[in-house]
């Protein structure tokens, strides 16, 4: 997972978050985040809207003060790291100022940093050569995102932070964007990006941190995380069995009785299926379906019911 294995004493990690908390009024948006990202890692912060991803990123960048907890980037405070140009970021929202061409805008932003990346280089990596002379107001949505990415890159950062970079893009532009990102990350940079698309996290990150309800609920490789969010449902005709008994089967997160049939929501449907047939040979009309990511998130976040979520995570831990 960590691409920077070395025998030397390890340098400070790119990101170190320690028990971060942040509330907005009565909303406890971030409820204790601990996260360490080594240099060179590409990490996806995956979670549904309202999971606390943006608040975490804003605290990481020093844009939001945490109520408690600490942020350390390359062993320094967020502000120091930003001032040195070690961190580039593309925030979730934000437009471009008018009346400058793409090249002028990048030159202007680059001039603020101690060791900027040459503008021609940024234009090439971000795929902006064709629109270098265009004013920001005349760019398409995809081109605007590329320019914003270029601005994030112009400081020549070691850490790139992207908050839902493709949220406003269509499928084609999204694909293009990740191609660009790949070219950037290929040079051993550390990347942290927030997304609510599992596919994006899967395709691009070597590590996925799953957030829900302001907490990290899972942290691991794409395969590990997919097994958490790849919830399947098993439907079977099985009268006269108590749903509590079914709930106790391995891999079952929830059991629902619907007349003659039962619906089991599982995070390990294979294990459930085997156990189900052994325990209840009478079960028939079996049907296994993959649930969508949204359903999976609902399952994990348990509609805000923390116990359900913790329960499921514990089961997940146990089944590993």
């Amino acid at each position: 997972m960590n691409r920077n294995h070395s025998a030397q004493p390890s340098p400070a990690p790119a990101i170190e978050l320690r028990s971060l908390h942040r509330s907005y009024g009565s909303t406890h948006a971030v409820q204790g985040i601990d996260l360490t990202v080594s240099r060179g890692e590409i990490v996806a912060l995956l979670g549904p809207n309202g999971a606390g991803k943006s608040t975490t990123i804003d605290m990481l960048l020093g844009l939001t003060r945490p109520d408690s907890g600490t942020v350390t980037l390359f062993g320094k405070t967020a502000h120091e790291a930003v001032t040195r140009g070690s961190v580039g970021a593309m925030l979730q929202t934000g437009g471009l100022i008018e009346n400058l061409s793409v090249r002028e805008l990048l030159t202007m932003m680059g001039s603020l940093y101690p060791h900027p990346r040459p503008v021609d280089d940024v234009l090439a990596v971000a795929g902006l050569q064709d629109v270098a002379g265009k004013r920001a107001a005349k760019l398409s949505g995809g081109q605007t995102q590329r320019v914003r990415f270029g601005i994030a890159m112009v400081s020549n950062p070691d850490l790139m932070v992207l908050d839902e970079p493709t949220a406003s893009l269509d499928v084609l532009a999204r694909h293009d964007f990740w191609q660009t990102m790949r070219a950037f990350a290929g040079t051993g940079k550390t990347v942290l990006f927030a997304t609510h698309y599992l596919e994006e996290a899967d395709e691009f990150a070597d590590r996925i941190v799953l957030m829900a309800g302001g907490r990290i609920v899972a942290d691991g490789s794409a395969t590990q995380i997919k097994s958490v969010v790849n919830v399947r449902t098993i439907r079977a005709t099985l009268p006269d069995v108590d749903s509590d008994a079914l709930q106790a089967l391995p891999g079952v997160a929830a059991a629902d009785r619907r007349g003659e049939s039962v619906v089991l929501t599982c995070n390990d449907s294979d294990a459930t299926l085997r156990a189900l047939l052994v325990a209840y040979p009478g079960a028939h009309d079996l049907e296994v379906r993959g649930a969508g990511l949204d359903e999976a998130f609902l399952q994990i976040t348990g509609d805000g019911d923390t116990n359900d979520r913790d329960d499921m995570m514990n089961r997940q831990e146990a089944s590993r």
């Binding site: 960048l61 020093g62 844009l63 101690p114």
Partner: protein
């Protein structure tokens, strides 16, 4: 790393912004050419011994310069809304330098307005003034702009990008009218005259007129400008701080 490059592109951006240069430069210029031009043969305006063109020139200069520095700070409002201020917080640019550049570009625009209007008046309208008159005017106008520069920053932080334009237009029109930029509205005595002496734009117009009256501001003028500067800088600082808390919230 160069703060100059940043300032350069800020300036380029300002000059390309037609909406702002229209108010600070083009409107005063057009009025000067039309109204001043139509009355160019009036050489003893209101018995002052001053030509109408010269009298009108310094009024337009005070108005255009006021709009220039106001708009310098007011441009913060759309940049806040755009998320650009947040983006800049991810750079080494300090808040002080950000505000300083806004004030500086406002002043630059004001200087441009003064030079262009003055040049057109001299070349096209036959206005003549001794060098010390120009110098005195320039010095006093630049000082008299301080409260308006602070007002621009205050508006930029306290208002949304939708409301900043109308508020700025209305406020500057009111100050221009009451101060006498568009022509005298009071005599040299009376209640209205006493009131108008308490507003900063009156002294901005006096700063312009110092070019031909040969007089620096009296103590009252310095006091009024200083008082408005203190109040508006405090308001701007408070709005900036509140806005910073919102950005950081």
């Amino acid at each position: 790393m160069s703060a100059l490059t940043y300032a350069k592109y800020e300036t380029v951006r300002t000059l390309r912004n037609v909406r702002f240069t229209a108010f600070s430069l083009v409107f005063p210029l057009v009025l000067l050419v039309i109204v001043g031009g139509a009355n160019r043969d009036e050489h003893n305006f209101l018995g002052t011994g001053i030509s109408f063109a010269l009298y009108y020139l310094v009024g337009m200069i005070s108005w255009g310069a006021m709009m220039s520095v106001l708009s310098g700070g007011a441009r913060i409002a759309p940049e806040r809304q755009l998320g650009w201020v947040r983006q800049l917080r991810l750079t080494p640019l300090s808040p002080g330098n950000y505000l300083g550049t806004k004030v500086a570009t406002g002043y630059l625009l004001a200087l441009l307005t003064i030079v262009v209007l003055g040049g057109v008046a001299v070349i096209g309208l036959g206005v003549r003034m001794p060098l010390d008159g120009w110098t005195r005017m320039l010095v006093l106008v630049l000082i008299g702009l301080i409260p308006f520069a602070a007002m621009g920053i205050w508006f930029g932080h306290a208002l949304s990008s939708e409301s900043v334009g109308p508020v700025m237009g209305g406020t500057s029109a009111l100050f221009a009218l009451l101060g006498g930029s568009w022509g005298p509205i009071t005599g040299n005595t009376g209640f209205v005259h006493d009131i108008s002496q308490l507003i900063p734009s009156y002294w901005l117009v006096q700063a312009g007129q110092s070019a031909f009256t040969g007089q620096w501001w009296p103590a009252k003028g310095w006091l009024v400008i200083a008082a408005w500067s203190v109040v508006l800088v405090a308001l701007a600082a408070r709005a900036y701080q509140r806005d910073g808390e919102r950005v950081a919230a």
